[in-house]
Symmetry: C2
Amino acid sequence: MTGLPDQARIAKRLEALWQIRLGPGGGADRPAFSSAEAEAMLLAAGWAREAGLEPGLDVHGNLWALPPKWTGGLVSSGSHLDTVPDGGRYDGALGTVLGLELADELREGTDAGARPALLVCVAEEAPRFRAGTIGSRLLAGTLAPGALTELRDAAGTSAAEAQARFREQLDELATLEPPLARLRAHVEIHVAQRRALRQIGVVTRVAAPRRFEIEVRGQAGHAGEVSMEDRHDALAAAAEIVLAIEVAARSEPPETVATVGSLAVAPGALSVIPSSARLGVDVRAISAPSLDRLEAAIRTAASDVASRRGVESGIRLLRAGDPTAMDAGLAQAALEAARHQGIAATETWSGAGHDAQHLAALAPTLLLFVPLEGGESHTPAEGADETDIAGAALVAREVLTALG
Amino acid sequence: MTGLPDQARIAKRLEALWQIRLGPGGGADRPAFSSAEAEAMLLAAGWAREAGLEPGLDVHGNLWALPPKWTGGLVSSGSHLDTVPDGGRYDGALGTVLGLELADELREGTDAGARPALLVCVAEEAPRFRAGTIGSRLLAGTLAPGALTELRDAAGTSAAEAQARFREQLDELATLEPPLARLRAHVEIHVAQRRALRQIGVVTRVAAPRRFEIEVRGQAGHAGEVSMEDRHDALAAAAEIVLAIEVAARSEPPETVATVGSLAVAPGALSVIPSSARLGVDVRAISAPSLDRLEAAIRTAASDVASRRGVESGIRLLRAGDPTAMDAGLAQAALEAARHQGIAATETWSGAGHDAQHLAALAPTLLLFVPLEGGESHTPAEGADETDIAGAALVAREVLTALG
């Protein structure tokens, strides 16, 4: 085996991706299904050819690069190339360029005769369409293609329109059928998004978000003319619900979290008692019973607060989500490979969503985290250490080499 | 004395004002400094001529109607003619048409030889420019004309531009100097805005709002990747502050109230822990010590919550306000006049702001409330009973007649 990875090549490719488009905050700016994401895909397609692979696009817009004329088993690797607004240098991009390194390294095939492939999933980041991991969910069949007409960005463009334009921009690439039946394993390497992780993370569980909208309807009134006693203030009720959600999440294991990320108040005038409040709630856990308990506690809190305050509350599931288990055999093999090569690694979990958790339904999948250097994720300051990057690649190579 | 008031004329005039412009919700729609408010002013100017008065506009846009060639004392009456969006039939309009009735009735002068005048203050309602009682505050000198360039509506038009256009639309009216030195007394009759008031209200104190913006700055983070323990969630801190404000207001006398009417969360995404929250707070009391205690409690709560949660908080005074005392002698006279005429009346207070509280700095001022029939204020369903309307007018007439 040759030395892996080629740090200079990785750095050069990350820089080329970074330079495609910078946002106002100086970070990488390649929104889902944008022309910047398409340009990044073309760069990766060119690099795949250098690794002896033939690139092509599936009907969803995912980039595949496959060994030419090969009809046998495949071990794929890769991540995504879109970013959040003003995102970092490593998120998605790192796993893609390391997928190329692995493909180059495994040209001759694995011990059991499988060949390497690159898979770059499209539209992984949620900000543009308020829905993430679009490409991998379409591939896994857990997102219906028809749903893309309902997802719209801030300018009113639907994800379906954006996807069609994206594919047009990449029409120089052949269209191919996803080689799902030939997939023996998939590996995604990704920068961690939790500061606390200080070594290579081998992910065993991923906490898919379960999301709710809670609406509280109280009674508007003149801020000066309704006594405190006579009020049915929707915002005060919402504030109690926010705090009850926090208390409920704190009583669960530390991997279980709940976030009220948005709160809209109407009418929103200083002189009017709020008549309604709408809360956006995101809950995550790596244990399904913990997630279910937390959901039940939130439902109870909303209804108790409402009845005590004489307001109405409704709760609507925006997105169902359950914890996903990653392939236990691959995770075990990764921990052994790390120990064997003297690389510090630990079993861990992901609170953030990743393409790997959806691809896990299609093939045994390994998700490896590279610790964040500096501790910032999804910002221009995102960093990762060269030794950690090399470590993750070496672990992945050993795991894939043994497969077929 | 002739019979007062002329219910048919009042109803006809209220209907004429109502028909000027209706909003999408079917209510009166005459925003501050709008062409609809100008049209209403022109109607009132015409009616003032029927009552033997000569109308004119002061430099601020307030409508005055004065006895021609008269240089002696004046007793003025009136209210305003603008409305909130989709407002009611009575708010402002009632006090204006009753001012016309009083002017008609007192043509011959008061017992002490003063003559009646009409004063219709411009731009009383706050929604358009987020600042109310503009005309009366300009008159009282508590709002600087220069401040109007800073107030902007949702379309970006400044109050100064709107005021200039408003005056152009009324250029058929003479410009006059406000006859402040000749003002012996002013009376404003207004529909109540508190449901609980069930008889004529003689207002002795008005609770001017004191307003604050509280900003909480926490730390953003991925909703799935920061444990509950490690969070500095700006919204959770803001929720505690909302509830602490409610508790503090509840421990004060029933006339003291506090409202958090707006709450803006950033970044406002479901997958991101809120990094900042901005609360708009309105506090009111008819007792200055109670108001000061409440403000101190709010400041303490914001700083305690912030330090306990490791977030920062700042509090900014948006508008200073202190309770205003209305003229005690006029209030006493009104209560006696009511008793004397067998009209049910009670001493009361106002939690809402009114032009009368600002005019009180210029002349002894009486503010009378007509109970709301049906209990809705600032909506198309706002109602008032004919007997109550007549009662308020009769009380005002007796008080003004005795003056000079």
